[in-house]
Subunit: 254 residues, 2 copies
């Protein structure tokens, strides 16, 4: 595998730092190539701004259009372009973060906001001029997996736990972002109770993570429904005969 | 009302800028007080870092503990403290943003990450020593409403639309963050198709927004289930007799 590992944690001496180091070590020991975007270590700027897209701030900043134009004219800022080159070299993305307020830390959210812009990550057409997305896109043929630590115990994030079911909390990332872009999205590695880990629990978690990482090529992806596979109508609404009794996020998984 | 309006958009000459200006003007015209945190205009730093919590970077940075200690010892960075003072002065929060990758722009996510830290926004106990959250917390007695623009048409975000039902996409913010903190969360103002707005549509959206804003005191909140109201067991899992046939995010709305 050629892995791009995107990490968002401010402290290398944390559980997340330990898991990242151990996971990357295990992949390399098996001959896989690993590039790392350690966003904190890089001092990544997560804020979409005119400078990233070489936009004249005197003119109205229409984010999507400005980004597309900068991309097509080769005027993207070097930090954005460097991340795109890493993505393009990879066949596998690992996205690792602690869940803060039920989402990604801002530094990681802004990696997607800035790097995954119109013309590169969305607004794309297929060979017949059709709009593509959800199962086809710039990550087609690649795999992606989230590695997420959470402070609370697992039952808080269960099917009827108070925080909400974790697969639905991760839907914006896993379905709306990674699967939208065309990646095969593998079930996430979830590490609960991360606030109170003992060193022994950290070792157990690193071992489980390593097993999941090495199994990436054989792991069944989450069976999200593809945009152009027949389950959706022309308005991209599920056809009445598809999962007729379901509404909400879960209806989009076959 | 004493409104704190948190805005996350890089361009004042945008639809979002127009809606913010019109909404604030209408509130003030009716005698309401409005403070604004225009995160882009403020140059808000969204990245959780040791400096925000006066933490010595030579020592391991445990985010939650460092933040709590800085808060209790009065060592928070002035930008964080200023936001907390604005929140404490307000009785109503308006959170306005364009939906990017099915969530908040990084600059706004990082407003929550940095300002809503342990000891201020979570990890709180009630008068009898019980943990509080979901319906009670530092926003108890206040109201909150999200104002969200989205590029796609509304049916993409409907109960069976491909992007996922918008109330579930907003669950991490509305339930996991605002309601967790104790606010009464009102149904959001949703503006679809924002990428292709005409000036006339902008005026219509501003009028609808204004009506919703002025109606905040009389608007019924989303009936999320409270943590300590009897619907959850001691593990904070829904009791079997509560919405027995439901799992997932919707089970948490009565």
């Amino acid at each position: 595998m050629n892995v791009l590992w995107i990490l968002a944690h401010p402290e290398p001496r944390s559980l997340n730092g330990h898991l990242a180091a151990e996971g990357q070590r295990a992949l390399r020991a098996e001959g896989h190539r690993v590039e790392v975007s350690d966003l904190y270590a890089m001092g990544w700027n997560p804020v979409v701004d005119p400078a990233g897209y070489a936009h004249d701030p005197a003119e109205r900043f229409q984010v999507a259009a400005a980004a597309k134009q900068a991309y097509e004219s080769g005027a993207l800022s070097p930090d954005i372009r460097a991340e795109q080159e890493k993505i393009d070299r990879a066949d596998t993305l690992v996205v690792q973060f602690p869940m803060w307020w039920f989402g990604m830390p801002a530094i990681l959210k802004g990696w997607f906001d800035r790097v995954w812009h119109q013309g590169y990550a969305y607004g794309l057409r297929g060979p017949d001029g059709e709009w593509i997305g959800y199962g086809d896109g710039f990550l087609a043929g690649k795999r992606a997996m989230a590695v997420v630590t959470m402070g609370g115990p697992g039952w808080f994030y269960g099917a009827r736990g108070i925080h909400g079911a974790v697969d639905e909390l991760l839907f914006p990332l896993q379905h709306g972002t990674l699967f939208y872009a065309g990646a095969q999205v593998l079930p996430p590695v979830l590490i609960f109770g991360a606030d109170r880990f003992t060193p022994g629990e950290g070792r157990t978690a690193a071992k489980e993570l390593t097993e999941r990482l090495l199994a990436i090529p054989e792991t069944e992806p989450i069976p999200y429904r593809t945009q152009n596979g027949g389950d959706y109508d022309g308005n991209l609404v599920l056809r009445p005969e598809v999962a007729p009794d379901l509404t909400g996020l879960r209806a989009h998984t076959a």
